[in-house]
Symmetry: C2
Subunit: 357 residues, 2 copies
């Protein structure tokens, strides 16, 4: 396990929300941001969680994120929203877009939205899981700041460009697909550098474009797409839907959240939402999904494999544990929250739960 302390979920949400309000985010919207960030930590995706609050608030201070941005919506056809996030917070503008997309999907059976002039907006599966609870299936994509070279190239053009979708089940959790199109997230390379470990060949190229096992060289270079040309093709698809079709920045034009403190990111997102009831009875759909899950889990296993897990199941188990014991927040993030509280005159009131054995 790790040495992170665990905190009551509601108290972390409350603190994040109060900090957002202190930075100029309207109260209801700050609540949206807090819920989205904490949900990522609850599911074990701490790279998309509360650890990001600090940079978001720094970017608000620099005028690169508008904490109270209105959502600009153009409707050229009844089932499509063309959204301008106006440099608002990614999570806030995405949830507001989704809230408008749900009734459209209900009416027409399917509805889609592009969002331009947005930011890093955390874990795609947060949005997908939300709609799965309403018996709707969301396909979500986003472009990201450049990190990955196209097959044959050695220059960061694409972001790690993830794609996600969640289906409801009768098992208490959504069957959740959520994957970056890079072979590994940069976070794994950062972790290897911290631990002084080499990285496996095939993960990344150094700045000269040669394969490297040195994490520092990899971080200065580019990560590689999963499965070579196939991963590049998928990253291209994600870029087309989220960057090109939205009118956002494309590929290497996307601003870096940490490096570019002089311009907005102009990230683009793509949502396509389907109402299950437009296809079949949602109860039947859940039964069919459950049958598939049962059959996958009962497949003959490779030697050394104790259990086959379906996508979303590992994160669900982490979330179950964390909902009982509290959300783990790393010490550096706790320090940052402390610092932000002092800066904004917000009282720091996080108390870790008593440690578990």
């Amino acid at each position: 396990m790790n040495s992170n302390q665990q905190y009551p979920i509601s108290s972390v949400e409350r603190l994040v929300s109060r900090l957002g309000v202190a930075a100029g985010v309207p109260e209801a919207e700050s609540g949206i941001l807090a819920k989205a960030l904490v949900d990522a930590d609850v599911h074990g995706a701490s790279t998309h969680g509360v650890s990001r609050l600090n940079i978001y608030l720094r970017r608000i201070q620099q005028g690169l994120i508008d904490p109270a941005a209105e959502l600009g919506i153009q409707t050229l056809r009844p089932a499509v929203l063309v959204v301008n996030a106006n440099n608002g917070l990614g999570q806030v503008q995405a949830v507001k877009t989704l809230d408008r997309l749900v009734p459209l999907a209900g009416e027409y059976g399917v509805a889609a939205a592009t969002i331009r002039r947005s930011q890093h907006f955390g874990a795609l599966s947060y949005y997908c899981n939300r709609t799965a609870e309403q018996d709707m299936v969301l396909v979500a994509m986003t472009n990201c700041e450049p990190a990955m070279s196209p097959a044959g190239g050695c220059e960061a053009f694409f972001g790690t460009n993830p794609i996600a979708a969640s289906f409801p089940t009768g098992k208490g959790f959504a069957l959740k697909i959520d994957l970056a199109t890079s072979l590994v997230a940069r976070g794994n390379i950062i972790a290897a550098r911290k631990a002084g470990r080499p990285i496996p060949e095939g993960w990344a190229l150094d700045p000269q474009g040669d394969p490297t096992t040195d994490p520092a060289a990899a971080l200065a270079g580019t990560v590689l797409a999963m499965a070579g040309h196939k991963g590049t093709a998928l990253a291209t698809m994600v870029e087309l839907f989220s960057g090109v079709l939205s009118g956002a920045a494309i590929g290497s034009e996307v601003g870096s959240m940490y490096k570019h403190m002089d311009r907005p990111q102009n990230v683009g997102h793509f949502f396509c939402l389907l109402d299950i009831a437009a296809f079949m009875d949602p109860k039947s759909l859940r039964r069919r999904v459950d049958r598939m899950i049962d059959r996958i889990k009962s497949c003959r296993r490779r030697s050394g494999v104790d259990e086959i897990l379906v996508p979303g199941e590992p994160e669900f188990r982490k979330a179950q544990f964390n909902r009982q014991h509290g959300v783990p927040i790393d010490p550096q993030t706790v320090n940052e929250l402390h610092g932000l509280c002092e800066e904004y005159g917000v009282s720091f009131d996080l108390q870790p739960n008593s440690p578990q054995r």
Copy 2:
């Protein structure tokens, strides 16, 4: 190069169409089938081309494909079609569905369809490229007969479950993403067996579930997903949309085209069609796509790489060559066409083009 002779495209289309009619396919629909099959050969995807005609006609003879099936359409919501292919030919029922989807996407901006009780329907990119010409973007998925084990398993549950999408460009070809979620297509393993070559480790498992480099053992076992858990997650997503949401067979329930001559395949497809004009001016979109292509192609290259190709570009070059010199058909397929012509009393009139240097 290979030793295949090249034939005039229109004469191959005509012959395939006449054979379809002789087997009971209505004339217009047989033309749809012929165009789809020959287009795959023109683009170099001969595994989805005319080589499949023989098995389609055998399955018609066995009553497993209804050559004149009506399309059953249920409309629960305005922008969604719930289609029953009634065991018709996959390509024919898919094109008929798409023809009905296009006006819906035009009206609502986005429209979706599931198709159940279908068959092998060839290359997804055929459908995607068709709609790209109309300034619409089609996301297409299909499940397939079982070939691939889930991560951790060693039993064929998933098919090679491809996903595809094409965007229009100003470059004379569509930017076309079309990828199986398996690491390699079974065709590559069959080719290695024919050539007496071992296959690389990581492609497949033998029937005991152990990694193998023996192509025969691999063909008796299962192929592996691209990029491990990520490929399994993508295959799961494709199965959910095309198999589960459509009401078709799911995973290992899908019938094998060659092995199961006693039951229909019950393949499921999923289409989601977006009208570009619902998002932005299609001319602007093409310019934005072209700009992305130019920037990808001008990325710094890895050593030994002469040119960076974008997805769809290699197939476009093959198609350009074949449109000029004729479509290559392998000798075994030519023999099968001969045999089918005798069987159905259709005159065999294919004449290869004079050989190119």
